[in-house]
Symmetry: C2
Subunit: 188 residues, 2 copies
DNA sequence: GTCTATAGCCCGATAGAC
DNA sequence: GTCTATCGGGCTATAGAC
């Protein structure tokens, strides 16, 4: 059986993902979690405090998911490409990246930090794999793994934006395939 | 001298860019535009109708800006790369792409259409330039210009997300440089 | 820990005077 | 065209009983 505390955090994670920070009200959280007003404000002093807890859990979950994939078997470059293809619900977007649209999140350091840390972690891990790929000869020399890691992350995040704008996963898949082709292009 | 109608639309454009659809209230629009409640509801029957007008103007302005760059002088590939580098206020994000985070925008066809149309237009234009670049030998054969166009768009949109999450333009610039390196990579 | 009650303000919209 | 008044409801909390 889950505690009120857990239900509050899980519900907030879901609502932040769907509606963002501004669009998520304490009242909606309480109703969806089946937790009363008094209970919520007993556990968290404010909407921001609850949102921060939810963000931190979402960030940890996302990193764990990505870590399992990137630490998995296979050639380093293949793992990077698998990350690009990693199936999530494309039209829902990224539970972390979505929050970068909220000015209140970006303006508040405690709310922004989970976003910054998550992308920094993934970027570092991707950079390492791309370096390995270069050492192994699967990736062209002369390319900067750090820059490419940022490109990989951006294609994922931007792909979500294009997909939601088109109400179709196609632009996401095209962007990923385009980058995949560039990363695997053999010298002629 | 600007009319109330114009001030309403311009103000709504600015607020949608900053705060998104859910975060933009009729009251805030009225105050910032210096226009009364009655006046606003005389010109627009609802918040959605005003938002739609603002979106359409923003989309037209953005397309015109991009058109001028992409129709400009220089090699086709250089123009695509110039689009990637096109200086806007990176931390503000994209006035069109930002709205794809709003569930109310994505769910309402009239509100989503300007987004879809804008990205479709830019994508088509980029595809044409990349085809020209291939014909001219500046871009490697065997790559699909349609897919690469989606990648270019995604890097821009995703770069904004990473930049806002990091509160720094650096990740944006890295992502762009990474893609630029891939697109200009010479065969060895 | 959780409840109910209440506060003060904002939401999106409508009505009708001028 | 623009004004003010008003509607029913939601917003983010706070207070104090249980």
């Amino acid at each position: 059986m889950s505690t009120s505390l857990d239900r509050l955090i899980e519900t907030t994670q879901a609502l932040l993902w769907e509606r963002g920070y501004a669009g998520t009200s304490p009242r909606a959280i309480q109703e969806q979690a089946g937790v009363g007003q008094g209970s919520m404000y007993h556990h968290f002093r404010s909407k921001a405090a609850l949102a921060q807890a939810a963000e931190e859990r979402s960030a940890a979950e996302l990193i764990e998911e990505v870590r399992q994939l990137l630490d998995g078997p296979g050639d380093p470059l293949d793992r990077v490409l698998a990350y690009l293809r990693l199936e999530r619900d494309i039209l829902k977007g990224c539970r972390i990246g979505r929050l970068a649209a909220d000015p209140e999140v970006v303006a508040d350091h405690s709310l922004r930090k989970p976003l910054e840390d998550t992308f920094a972690w993934i970027s570092t891990r991707l950079t390492g794999l791309l370096q390995e790929a270069q050492a192994g000869g699967q990736l062209q020399q002369g390319l900067d793994p750090r820059l490419l890691a940022a490109t990989v992350l951006a294609v994922r995040q931007g792909g979500y934006v294009l997909a939601r704008a088109a109400s179709s996963t196609v632009p996401y898949e095209q962007a990923v395939e385009g980058l995949t082709a560039l990363l695997t292009a053999r010298r002629t």
